[in-house]
């Protein structure tokens, strides 16, 4: 497990959140310290190791205790049997003696017996003696002794014997001291063997469970790896992200999976929209350029009269003006739409008076209306109607809507502009009495570059961006725009915008 890779890899910088790890890196980082699997395995093994050591230490203590306890009991027993061999010497002085004939003790053991007068009653043949003699002041207990390279545990025991208990006066009480020792080597060996058994067991357990845990963790982390593999396949060209069922049902991965899905779906939508816009814009621009180019080449196709040249140049100039208008509208749309992200942030949008913008638009477009012989009626309150739009955008919105209505109005018709304040929002309706829009076209009129019936819009020269710009402006200000139409009767565009706080008030509320 501690491969040389591990140490060498630690020197690399911890730049984990890489967008696309190289394949050969993947196998290396599997065992790097940044790997979750590695860390989990390391932690589990460390815990196992610590537990094993604890088990060994506990068993050592326990085995020591039980073995030495048994040993001590045995020593007591043997010392008692030595004491039992102290007998009446049957002499006049009522001395005691040791009857060794009845003693059957292990040859390795050491023992000696002293009486209260300091006489050595008996001693094991393999011992020179403790040299202590009769020690009534010393209490009973154990001590250690090393003899001939062997460790002995020595028990001191005091005993007494009554000589001639049948005599009057209860006989004579004689005290003796017994020292009994036995070698501890085999006890220690037994303890060591027991501990060795536990240690070996722990080691085997560690060796078996280590790989098992590694395998189980590897298996357990499979959903994560699958998710990562699928996520790494997502690219700008391929948005396909189909998370495995395991990633969805795993409690820890489900939030991540959902987040990735929603982010990818949103990104893809935005990306496709952008791509469609670029493609549509390219188509429109190329067509407009093709018109200009063909107009000029048509003039140059063959020698012509000055009048023909003049007419040709006029046409080419008109075509160029249309191209210019298209470019300007596209830039406007890009500006308005591009501002959405920043406007929704902390910046507070500028406010302007929509009623004033409408009045200015109506006067600006009066000549256009006159040319088309269309009456324009404006119903707007005199009081300022503040909406969260820059004045420039409000004018653009008003003029686009009015121009659209004028273009679709027959001669001698009228266009009605109405502005009112309803339940905290500004409501603007632009009503024309033109030919109307068919129901299958209606849902698309706000799409960029969409032209309804070509025979109608072509004649007005629209680029199909006017209403798209209107929608972008309104949506930027968190408003809504809707269109309703009845073929043959007319069309009504309804714009609803939130009211902006008056600038004289306390600091404007952050959006």
């Amino acid at each position: 497990m501690t491969s040389p890779d591990l140490t060498s890899h630690q020197h690399t910088s911890p730049n984990l959140p890489r967008s696309s790890p190289a394949p050969q890196d993947a196998s290396r980082s599997r065992w790097s310290t940044h790997s979750i699997a590695f860390r989990l395995i390391a932690v589990v093994l460390a815990v196992e190791l610590v537990s094993s050591v604890l088990v060994i230490l506990l068993s050592l203590g326990y085995e020591r205790h039980t073995h030495f306890h048994a040993f001590d009991v045995m020593l007591h027993g043997r010392a008692d049997s030595v004491l039992g061999a102290v007998q009446d010497a049957e002499d006049a002085a009522d001395n005691v003696m040791l009857d060794e004939a009845d003693l059957h003790l292990p040859a390795d053991d050491l023992w000696e017996v002293w009486d209260e007068r300091g006489h050595l009653l008996g001693r094991s043949p393999n011992w020179q003696g403790s040299g202590q003699g009769y020690t009534p002041e010393a209490s009973d207990g154990f001590s250690k002794l090393t003899l001939g390279g062997h460790d002995f545990r020595l028990l001191r025991e005091h005993g007494s014997r009554i000589v001639d208990p049948g005599e009057p006066g209860g006989g004579t009480l004689r005290h003796v001291t017994v020292l009994y020792g036995a070698p501890t080597s085999h006890v220690r060996r037994a303890i060591r063997r027991a501990v060795e058994f536990y240690a070996a067991g722990s080691l085997i357990l560690l060796l078996v469970t280590g790989p098992l845990i590694a395998w189980l963790l590897h298996r357990g982390l499979l959903p994560l790896r699958q998710l990562a593999a699928l996520a790494s396949r997502v690219s700008v060209d391929s948005w396909q992200f189909d998370p495995p069922a395991s990633a969805r049902t795993t409690r820890e991965l489900a939030p991540l999976t959902h987040a990735m899905e929603s982010v990818l779906a949103g990104l893809e939508k935005a990306f496709v929209q952008q791509r469609t816009f670029v493609s549509d814009a390219a188509h429109e621009l190329k067509t407009a350029v093709a018109v200009v180019k063909s107009s000029l080449q048509l003039v140059a196709l063959k020698p012509r009269s000055p009048a023909e040249y003049e007419a040709g140049l006029d046409r080419a100039l008109a075509d160029t003006a249309r191209l210019e208008d298209l470019v300007a509208k596209m830039l406007t749309l890009a500006r308005v739409e591009g501002g959405i992200a920043t406007a929704s942030a902390a910046t507070t949008p500028a406010a302007c008076d929509l009623a004033a913008s409408l009045r200015q638009t109506v006067s600006d477009l009066a000549t256009v209306a006159e040319l088309r012989r269309v009456r324009v009626n404006l119903h707007a309150p005199q009081a300022p109607c503040l909406v969260p739009l820059p004045a420039e955008d409000a004018l653009l919105l008003a003029s686009n809507l009015l121009l659209n209505a004028l273009q679709h109005s027959p001669a001698d018709a009228s266009v009605l502009l109405r502005l009112s304040v309803e339940s905290g929002s500004a409501l603007l309706t632009v009503e024309d009495h033109g030919e109307g829009i068919s129901p299958d076209v209606l849902p698309h009129v706000f799409d960029r570059f969409y032209r309804g019936d070509p025979s109608r819009t072509r004649s007005t020269g629209g680029a199909g961006l006017g209403l798209a710009i209107c929608r972008a402006i309104v949506e930027k200000a968190s408003g809504t725009v809707a269109i309703a139409s009845q073929p043959g009767v007319g069309t009504t565009v309804t714009v609803r915008l939130p009211l902006a706080a008056p600038p004289a008030d306390s600091p404007p509320p952050s959006a």
Binding site: K293, S294, R451
Partner: protein
């Protein structure tokens, strides 16, 4: 030759139609959307279809597929503003004969249109030959036995059409359909007058030469066969 132009951009269509009429002298019909283009194409009188891809009501690719589905083999030249190779491969596989990306060069468009019409008639070279007549489709000039014959545009177009269809009886109606667009009044006696003038001009310097255009009474005209001429004379 008669060309169907399917293009929704009015100004571009105007310019293309003007160039096709002024340059090679084609008759041009214009359709502003896919469905109208399909209706026009059903007449089966066109020698070339110039087709824009992005069209209202019916897009260019669908129109092309409809055309080929009813075994219409009219050459189709696609005008496209789309990027990328895939749409082009798709177009050619759907039966398009050629394509031009916008913005295109008007001269190139005319050259490709002429080449496609020529190919559609089975001629690879811009110089057409029949009997002792040489017809240069680039210069729109005609020589008979090496001598330049001065023809009016309509006379030239009648001769070009007949040479493109050798030994085929071409009716006055067919000539009308292929030489004039819908903006013209249709009168078969106009054709008769032009054919008569064409015959006179072709045979003016060579009174003893065999006739180039045969009249099949009640059926139409036919370009005379080369091998049969000496037999008829003797």
């Amino acid at each position: 030759m008669r060309v169907l132009l399917v293009e929704d951009e009015v100004r571009l269509a105007d310019n293309l139609a003007a160039a096709l009429r002024d340059g090679p002298g084609f008759a041009v019909d214009w359709a502003a959307d896919g469905e109208a283009g399909d209706d026009f194409a059903r007449n089966g009188v066109y020698d070339l279809v110039i087709l824009d891809l992005m069209l209202p009501r019916l897009d260019g690719l669908s129109l092309l597929k409809r055309l080929r589905a009813r075994a219409d083999s009219t050459p189709v030249l696609i005008l496209t503003a789309k990027e990328g190779k895939q749409p082009i491969i798709q177009l050619l596989n759907a039966g398009a004969d050629d394509y031009l990306p916008k913005p295109f060069d008007l001269g190139e468009l005319l050259a490709r249109a002429k080449a496609l019409i020529r190919r559609g008639k089975g001629a690879a070279h811009p110089m057409l030959r029949a009997l002792d007549i040489e017809l240069n489709t680039l210069e729109q000039s005609v020589r008979r036995a090496g001598t330049l014959v001065d023809l009016s545009p309509t006379e030239y177009r009648i001769l070009e059409y007949l040479i493109h269809n050798p030994r085929k009886i071409v009716s006055k109606r067919e000539l009308l359909e292929h030489l004039y667009d819908y903006n013209w009044e249709h009168h078969s006696n106009v054709i008769e007058a032009h054919v008569s003038n064409l015959r006179k001009k072709l045979e003016a310097d060579l009174p003893s030469a065999p006739p180039v255009i045969e009249t099949m009474r009640g059926r139409g005209y036919r370009l005379a066969a080369e091998a049969e001429q000496p037999l008829d004379l003797t």
